[in-house]
Symmetry: C2
Subunit: 370 residues, 2 copies
């Protein structure tokens, strides 16, 4: 599996980044990608005119069904971390092709006589929250990073994300009440390191993976009732048969406004958001709901995602509100970071969208007309 032979097909001729190259193989071969919308985004592999989906497609949805925000945070965070090791300028993204759905499902289950590869501990028969063995490893995902060599795409790097539980939800009987085993941060980290070492050992044996960099990224799953998905806390780049040095990501996520149970990661950002919120919410006689999720690195704000919900009585109200929100965002929200604002009506349908890239001073606005 050191190289891929994809049939050239379709013709996205306008794509400056896709390429179709005839190799020395007997059949015409080459590869096709989705094209690249910016230097900081990966182009992805297309095969026979269709997207090459993950061999473990769908496992993430099953494993995060109680809080889909975890899946979004996990996968987008995994791609972001991968960029530090596998630059989008040099690598092409491919959905994981080494680990199959059944392999990942077995790894995520408990170890047992019928499932020797389970990464989670054996069932010890206990049902008490503090006595039972919890499920530590909640999700695993593989991302492949490819390079072109002589007109062919070859696997040049792998990222594996491992999602670890701080809370393991379980039933004592089928369809019964849900109980929770809480896992300490230290225990989560320790179990994560064990799982990472085992996963690395197994992946190294797979075709094409014996001598390429493998990045393993550790994710703390958010609780089921969290309004923000989990966060990657550590990663490790292995260039041999063993793990490299563990590095902290220093990432944090939070929700604004803060609740009685949460404190702000940065007080200045919180007060900026509060000013913005106050400016917005009384625009109409009816109140607007204004919330945000944040992403921090080293306590410094990296991303801000604002959600506004209000009842609109006309299209002109939507247009006027969108302009007003864009102006208020310019005045009150922090500069130098990417910000997006979605405006929804009381029926939940998106009505307008406002965004600023990190390197821009102006906001892009769009009102959904139909």
């Amino acid at each position: 599996m050191g190289s891929l032979f994809l049939t050239a097909c379709g013709n996205l001729n306008s794509s400056s980044t896709s390429s179709t190259t005839t190799t020395t193989q007997s059949s015409s071969s080459g590869y096709q990608t989705t094209g690249q919308s910016s230097d900081s985004e990966y182009q992805s592999v297309i095969q026979n005119g269709s997207y090459l989906t993950s061999k473990a497609r769908g496992v993430g949805i099953t494993q995060n069904s109680e809080n889909m925000l975890n899946l979004k945070a996990f996968e987008s965070g995994l791609t972001t971390l991968s960029k530090t090791e596998f630059s989008p300028k040099d690598y092409i993204f491919r959905e994981g092709q080494l680990l199959s759905k059944s392999t990942v499902q077995k790894w995520l289950s408990r170890k047992s006589s019928s499932n020797p590869t389970g990464l989670n501990p054996k069932d010890n028969g206990e049902t008490d929250a503090d006595k039972r063995n919890p499920i530590y490893v909640q999700q695993i995902e593989e991302q492949d990073y490819m390079k072109e060599e002589n007109g062919k795409l070859v696997l040049a790097g792998i990222t594996i994300g491992i999602g670890m539980n701080r809370k393991d939800y379980y039933q004592k009987e089928e369809y019964g009440a849900t109980y929770t085993t809480t896992i300490s941060k230290a225990k989560m980290i320790a179990e994560g390191k064990k799982a990472a070492a085992e996963v690395l050992k197994r992946v190294r044996k797979l075709k094409g993976a014996s001598d390429i960099p493998i990045m393993i990224c550790m994710f703390e799953q958010a609780p089921n009732d969290s309004l923000v998905g989990g966060t990657f806390y550590a990663y490790n780049v292995s260039k041999s048969s063993t793990l490299g040095t563990w590095k902290s990501t220093n990432l944090q996520s939070s929700v604004l406004p803060t609740t009685s149970e949460s404190t702000a990661i940065n007080d200045n950002d919180e007060s900026s958001f509060t000013s913005f919120k106050n400016k917005i919410q009384n625009f109409f006689p009816n109140l607007a709901g204004v919330t945000a999720t944040t992403k921090y690195k080293n306590k410094s704000l990296q991303e801000l995602h604002v959600k506004i919900t209000t009842q609109f009585y006309s299209e002109t109200e939507i247009r006027s509100f969108t302009q007003y929100v864009a102006q208020a965002a310019k005045t009150y929200l922090p500069s130098g970071i990417p910000i997006d604002i979605t405006i929804k009506g009381s029926d939940g349908d998106i009505q307008a969208f406002i965004a600023r890239e990190s390197d821009s001073s102006s906001y892009y606005t769009h009102v959904f007309d139909d």
Copy 2:
């Protein structure tokens, strides 16, 4: 009502277009607007820190409750037509302040002894679709266009939209089956001209409206089951006590792909869309739904709004699909017009957004991360 005295308040200092001016009034006064996101968009009036909502707020929702696409098409079309007479460079938008909710509701009802101002005909007692008097006038909306004079905002133009039925839905008994009276195009136009003349006469008597331009725009309501909202078919600019010359808008709307009941307005655009659709819908093993609404003027495409729905299994699939769709749009969709593409998951939540302004060659893409 020739001038407005709004209290200056708040401070959207970053807004280059909002202004606060002290007038000679005893209290500090001036006006505030939402600011302007582009030269082609109106800024709107803010009063006491809140949006100055329409005096007839909510009537449009009631009158279009069976097909809200009509309301969106009506209001955004009304604003677009107004721009030809009241340029956003010179005028500031204000929600209608002359016609109250109860006034408009009376006008939209049938004429009767208790409702002498009703624009729709008396109930003739018939229930047969072809014998009864249908409701011709379905909705009326006022938009005000303001100018600054000596630091004050004065009413400088009015647009009135009148929505006319081609199909009037009615019940023979309360909660009974719904029947339909079909109104011919000629009859709709004739009734619309009568209603417009009457409305003009009434509006001319209102304070501040006696000697400013009044634009009256005639809208054909789409049927309740239409997948695209109605269209403005004619307009009239009055600068006196009577109507001016009627002008045709030459606007059309349609849905793509065409159905058994509809034909394409322009075959080339339809085949471009079909190529795009074919390229997209087999990207994943599961099929994607691809539809579009179009707006035409003089048979020439003005706007294209594409909607794509598919089931995603991961965030990376959303990112890859978005890039692919942007590339396919670049290759297949017509150039020189504004295009937007919304991508939704099978749960109906928006996942990504792609748009191109008319004067741009590149597409803006945004993936909703959380």
